[in-house]
Amino acid sequence: MTGTGPDEPVIEVRGLRKEFVVRVRAGRFRRTKRVVTAVDGIDLTVHRGEMVGYIGPNGAGKSTTLKMLTGVLTPSAGEVRVCGFTPVPQRTRLALRIGVVFGQRSQLWWDLPLRDSFDLLRHIYRVPGAEHAARLRRCRTLLDLDGFLDVPVRQLSLGQRMRGELTAALLHRPEVLFLDEPTIGLDVVSRQAVRSFLAELGRAGDTTLLLTTHDLADIERLCRRLVVIDHGGVVHDGSIEALHTRYGSRRLVVADLDEPLAETPVLAGAPLLRTEADGRRLVFACESATASTVVAGLAQLVALRDIAIVEPDIEDVVTRLYRAPAPVEPG
């Protein structure tokens, strides 16, 4: 039987490529073909229990990668193994082992109430009745589904539908979850509900999850590992801390003073970034110095009214990453 051993990676990708042919108008009747490379040689290994954030700007190839991993799109080149299967040729067998949510599309039946959709999924995935009932009960509690189980999907709000989609992706007890922008378009409350639910899933430590999102708060909350892709290739693969280190993100120390200083204080290893509020607020960046030495140093030099330590902002790092110039295309 095909499957993965305990130590084998759940997802293994080598040199994955996807090219699309785009026809461009080149005259009144003439059209020329242009090859667009959406995914350009991605390598990725994900082990059981890892929760991986997969981010990149629009058009970077995130969704295309996910569609190739789930067997919807055929790769142009490269190798893919998910749960020991090659996704496209073994798609229907792989489908039993993975759960997928595409935030922009629905997998529920438009004209059926959620309850009927879930029941149909039970038959499609051949889940024994008792198991199905138990899992549905958990999702109902955690995602608060009870208020709209009998409403046809077409009448649900986006937040309600997304909670339904998550449940639908989990009812057959998948080994890997692929979530493509599950919080897109959701309000703060629904977003929080989805996030807490996923965090709850991750708590047991055996859920393998690949999450694409534009909301970096999702990633910070859920994923210890972050894969950043841009122009079809991986530009960072590691922890969020590693990303900060690599791109020189620094903690900031913000000091509020009673009176503006005549002379700027100099602290070793922590240059002054800027002054605000007519010199009554100073912002230092902790480079080689730690936040505590900066605070202690400041306290000796000036009379402090208030002090705050600001954690490095991931949005800031990622913006800088996305703005990095595109690699020169060969040929």
Binding site: M1, G3, F20, R48, S63, K67, T70, G71, V72, L73, T74, C83, V88, R91, T92, R93, A95, L96, R97, I98, G99, V100, F102, G103, Q104, R105, S106, Q107, W109, D111, L112, D116, D119, L120, H123, I124, Y125, R126, A134, R135, R138, C139, L142, P152, L170, H172, R173, P174, E175, L177, D180, E181, E200, L201, R203, A204, D206, T207, T208
Partner: protein, 284 residues
């Protein structure tokens, strides 16, 4: 929460009973999905009935002009042909199915591919459920109306009834296959309006909806019947139920339907496989 995600593969069973259960569950959902559109059902049944009167009077006038029997049909057989045909029109669903094309255009077809059931199988099951619903709500009203207002030809031989049931089921399968193929052009064309118009025009004439195909000369009729699936969509079940031919011919026609059903479903599978290789799901 460990009970929601797994760390081991699920047991795989290849049990035919389980497969059948999945199939009937999908068919059942097809029945329920279509039963939510009650006003459309009512309007459809009403329209079919009105057109039944028009078609029936035209054909009876033709028969009257020909001295009673035309192309081997008695007036009672013609009336039955028209009214059962009006009922079957919605059961086989000759027109108006663009679900797959629509899902290809919007990219929702990706969700169909993520299920552990082959898309042709799941669409077929849904369509059989839909046909079941149409049998109750769209077949019965026109046929009862016809029975009430016209002289009907009821079957004289008992094997005609099961043969008719089988023939209708096969017609549904063949028609589903044809619609699936027309919709699947969307994988290549994005916009299926062209193939859809061709199908709408062609299927009505060639399936025997506008006039019984037996009105045509043999040199057109025979190749049409054998080499195309169209007569199997309506003409065959109608000729079976009105006992236009003796039972060996009746059975032969249903056997031909069976062959076409197999061929078309095979065609659907092949087309689906080729389409998946070139599928592009745009945006997001």
């Amino acid at each position: 929460m460990g009970s929601v995600t797994a760390t081991v593969p699920p047991p795989i069973s290849r049990n035919i009973i389980l497969w059948f259960r999945t199939f009937t569950a999908i068919a059942g959902s097809g029945f329920r999905r279509y039963s939510t559109y009650r006003q459309a059902t009512l309007a459809g049944a009403f329209t079919n009935t009105v057109f039944g009167f028009l078609r029936c009077y035209v054909l009876l006038a033709v028969a009257g002009g020909a001295g009673g029997i035309v192309a081997g049909y008695t007036p009672a057989q013609l009336a039955t042909f028209v009214w059962v045909g009006q009922g079957l029109l919605a059961v086989v669903l000759l027109w108006g199915w663009t679900d797959l094309a629509e899902r290809i255009r919007t990219g929702e077809v990706a969700s169909d591919l993520l299920r552990p059931v082959h898309p042709v199988v799941s669409y077929l099951a849904t369509d059989l459920g839909r046909a079941g619903y149409a049998l109750v709500t769209r077949f019965v009203p026109p046929v009862l109306t016809g029975l009430l207002f016209f002289d009907f030809k009821l079957p004289d031989r008992w094997p005609t009834v099961p043969l008719f049931v089988l023939s209708v089921a096969l017609a549904v399968v063949i028609c589903f296959g044809c619609r699936y193929l027309v919709n699947a052009t969307g994988y290549w064309l994005q916009d299926v309006r062209g193939p859809m118009i061709l199908w709408t025009l062609g299927s009505g004439v060639l399936a025997g909806l506008y006039f019984p195909l037996r009105f045509l000369p043999d040199w057109i009729l025979v190749p049409l019947w054998v080499a195309t699936p169209f007569p199997s969509l309506l003409q065959t079940p109608l000729d079976v139920v009105i006992e236009r031919d003796a039972w060996p011919v009746q059975s032969g026609m249903v056997a031909l339907q069976l062959a076409w059903a197999g061929l078309i479903l095979l065609g659907c599978r092949t087309v689906q496989r080729r389409a998946e290789r070139r599928l592009v799901v745009q945006g997001g």
